[in-house]
């Protein structure tokens, strides 16, 4: 089984290698290589999935590990694990990825970097699938960075546009901040336990290897990675900008899979969360859910609305994990992946049509993403419209669609959490959730009405709008089908509850190692509380979603209220939301400019102080050398020269004695002998 999973992962990598080196020379620029690879992965994932369904065991787990590093007594093992969560993730990733691949054939048709696009998609599929099957933090971190790289490459895919390359850099840098926390978290866990393997970590935490303080720190730091990757407040700023990338990329990476990696990570480490870290996670998620939803109301770019909606839905998932509704959070990840990918692909279809219409009319200065130029596309693009409507209903949490089931579970979970813990402040969490649910329905129908209903805002464009080709609409239809409740309630058929579904049976909350270590359940929620919360949440969420939809219709469709007047009356609130609470500006003013200021200070320090010191020492050395040179030249050389001169002079005088006349020598010798004799005699 693990071998199959590894093959599933490696096939897209193989496709990437083929594409990046030979893509341009292959027929059809090699798109079939990537598509073929991901389709085989899809089939194999389904095989694993049905295997799992066949065994129907919630504790289903296959593990395999290998020794990675051996240093004397010290070993690090890495391994793969397949349990229900990772197999479901494999299926989700391969489904969305295959559909996006097929969709891209139509959408990216004619792009000069067509083959490279498919290469990147394959690389991304590889990294995302790899992230799912590792059972250790190290492997997850590795793949985590790889998906980040792919995200960067694909956001900045049209890098000749400044905004796209800036958005890519922004995404990468903002993610780095979160990843730093993630890395520190991993190092804390490793230094305390000495293993990366999640199962070993779970065991040693249950045995009490880590103190509660360390656990809380590690949990929150690991969650930092999720804050970055899943675009949670306060690191949410990169995701809306990431919409500069091609729309299939937004669907695959920035809606369905990569941004959900943060949720997946938190789900994976949920066994080691203490109550404090769970609270942090829940509040960050809940706040993000509401906060992003309020921004989505006023945005005019169709993809930005969806981007904020994604942030908001990710907030839901994170909140669910924070309140201990592990299965609910992961369930929402799965259903959300389907309908949000669908929404993005649908918006891509609209943008594609707009782009072609504008191209025909020679309009180049208008943004094809802007919903202010749309309207009345319903008849022109029926397939896109109907599928888009289904996705919208699913996202708004209307019964009979998948989104209702999962969102309801999350809202129920947050309500149960608030009811189970006495602190009334915790009712903030369900408040965040329910308010965001109403707002979600409102802004999504605003989007639908603005795009598909009413009078066309621009007659000329409207006339040239055509339905997109089959490669675009067929993935939409498949995703729309997957947004119907039935796939998630089987074998039960109750559209209001997934409690008898395969999912509910197979994915169960993991045993909290922290609870085992502490000796009591850190997050006790009785079945009775959960049940009553669930019923309340269901009624309330249907009511709120309907309210949001009706409000949206009455403002934008029936025009009961004047939009202009409303925005005027909202005044500062509208402005805050329209400008995304000025977060980009605040970050620009504080962090970016602060950093630049700091850099300038460091630069000054470098050039003035450090360079000054270096120059001073150079000056000292130079002058000292000069003096030392002088000393050498005058004193040392003087002595040497003097000796030489003396030798020369004495030689000059003494050579006169050396006449070469033997007779003179003999005279001298005779004289010497006479002197010696005389001395001797005296």
């Amino acid at each position: 089984m693990v071998e199959t999973a590894i093959i599933i992962t490696l096939l897209p990598l193989l496709a990437f290698v083929i594409q990046i080196f030979f893509g341009k020379r292959l027929p059809r620029q090699g798109d079939w290589v990537s598509i073929g690879a991901i389709l085989i992965s899809l089939i194999l994932s389904f095989k694993l999935f049905f295997n799992m369904i066949g065994s129907y065991d919630p504790h289903f787990l296959v593990q395999e590990s290998f020794r990675w590093i051996t240093l004397g007594e010290f070993n690090i093992d890495l391994g793969f694990a397949l349990d229900s969560v990772s197999i479901i993730m494999l299926v989700v990733v391969t489904i969305v990825s295959s559909l996006v691949h097929i969709y891209s054939v139509g959408y990216m048709n004619g792009d000069p970097m067509y083959s490279r696009f498919f290469a990147y998609l394959s690389l991304f599929s590889f990294s995302m699938l790899g992230l799912v099957i590792w059972d250790n933090l190290f492997g997850i971190y590795m793949m985590w960075e790889l998906v980040g790289l792919c995200s960067y490459l694909l956001i900045g895919f049209w890098f000749e546009k400044d905004s796209a390359s800036d958005a890519g850099k922004k995404a990468f840098i903002v993610n780095r901040i979160g990843d730093l926390g993630f890395l520190i978290g991993i190092l804390i866990v490793f230094s305390q336990i000495g293993s990366f393997s999640l199962s070993e970590i779970s065991q040693s935490i249950a045995n009490g290897t880590m103190s509660e303080g360390w656990l809380t720190a590690a949990g929150i730091l690991l969650f930092c990675g999720a804050i970055g990757k899943s675009a949670q407040f306060p690191l949410h700023v990169w995701l809306p900008d990431a919409m500069e990338g091609p729309t299939p990329v937004s669907a695959l990476i920035h809606a369905a899979t990569m941004v959900a990696a943060g949720v997946y990570l938190v789900a994976r480490i949920s066994f080691m969360l203490t109550f404090d870290s769970m609270l942090v996670i829940a509040y960050v998620g809940g706040f993000t859910a509401l906060f992003a939803a309020t921004i989505a109301i006023t945005q005019n770019d169709i993809k930005r609305v969806l981007a904020y909606s994604t942030i908001s839905q990710l907030g839901y998932m994170i909140m669910a994990l924070g309140v201990g509704a592990y299965a609910a959070g992961f369930f929402h990840l799965v259903t959300h992946a389907m309908f949000k990918a669908g929404l993005f692909l649908g918006s891509g279809s609209v943008i594609h049509a707009m782009h072609h219409a504008q191209h025909k009319l020679n309009i180049h200065d208008e943004d094809p993403n802007d919903i202010r130029y749309m309207g009345g596309f319903k008849e022109k693009m029926p397939k896109t419209y109907w599928t888009f409507l289904i996705f919208t209903l699913a996202l708004s949490g209307i019964p009979f669609f998948s989104g209702f089931l999962s969102k309801d579970l999350i809202l129920g979970g947050s309500l149960a959490f608030a009811m189970a813990h006495d602190n009334p402040i915790h009712y903030l969490l369900p408040f965040f959730g329910f308010t965001a649910a109403a707002i979600t329905a409102f802004y999504m129908f605003r989007l639908v009405i603005r795009t598909f209903y009413g009078e066309p805002k621009r007659k000329d464009i409207h006339e040239h709008i055509h339905e997109s080709p089959n490669t675009i609409t067929i993935p939409l239809m498949i995703l729309a089908a997957l947004s119907i409740f039935i796939f998630f309630t089987l074998p039960g058929l109750n559209p209001f509850s997934a409690s008898s579904s395969w999912y509910d049976y197979l994915v169960q909350n993991p045993v909290s190692s922290v609870s085992t270590y502490m000796g009591y359940n850190i997050n006790p929620i009785s079945d009775h509380t959960a049940h009553s919360a669930h019923v309340t949440a269901m009624i309330l969420s249907i009511f709120l979603a309907t309210f949001g939809i009706i409000l949206s219709f009455s403002i934008y469709f029936w025009k009961k209220f004047d939009v202009e007047k409303l925005t005027e009356r909202m005044g500062i609130l509208y402005k805050l939301s329209y400008n995304k609470y000025y977060f980009d500006e605040i970050y620009q003013a504080t962090f970016v400019n602060g950093l630049l200021l700091w850099n300038r200070m460091l630069d000054w320090f470098d050039s003035a102080i450090i360079d000054g010191l270096v120059n001073l020492s150079a000056w000292i050395t130079r002058n000292f050398s000069f003096l030392s040179g002088k000393f050498d030249n005058s004193v040392i050389d003087g002595i040497v020269n003097e000796i030489a001169n003396m030798t020369q002079d004495s030689g000059k005088h003494l050579r006169k004695i050396q006449t070469g006349q033997i007779q003179t020598y003999i005279y001298a010798a005779l004289l010497g002998a006479v002197v010696i004799i005389i001395v001797k005699i005296i």
Binding site: G660, Q661, I662, Q663, I666, Y667, L670
Partner: protein, 101 residues
């Protein structure tokens, strides 16, 4: 009565004559003759000391060696002088300075 002193005095006179000849003569042949004089005075000494002090034949043997040596030396030196004369037409030793410097 001829005693050792007589020989030594004569030998000394011959030696000094030789020495003076060597020092004063510019003529290469003259210098060679001075050298012969010195050698012969030494020979006289050897023989005299051999006869009066050692009572042995060693002094005479050395004298014969010296004679042979003097003959060889004279042959070589005369050959050199002859060749110098042939090349330079002079036998004045103060002027023969081709190897100076």
């Amino acid at each position: 009565m001829i005693t050792l002193n007589t020989y030594l005095v004569i030998s000394g006179i011959v030696f000094v004559l030789g020495l003076v000849t060597i020092i004063n003569k510019k003529n290469a042949i003259g210098i060679l003759m001075g050298v012969e004089l010195i050698l012969n005075s030494v020979n006289l000494n050897f023989v005299a000391f051999g006869r009066y002090v050692d009572f042995d034949i060693k002094g005479q043997i050395i004298a014969i060696f010296v004679i042979i040596l003097a003959a060889a030396e004279a042959a070589v030196a005369l050959a050199i002088v002859l060749n110098i004369y042939r090349n330079k037409q002079l036998i004045d030793v103060t002027k023969i300075d081709a190897m100076k410097n």
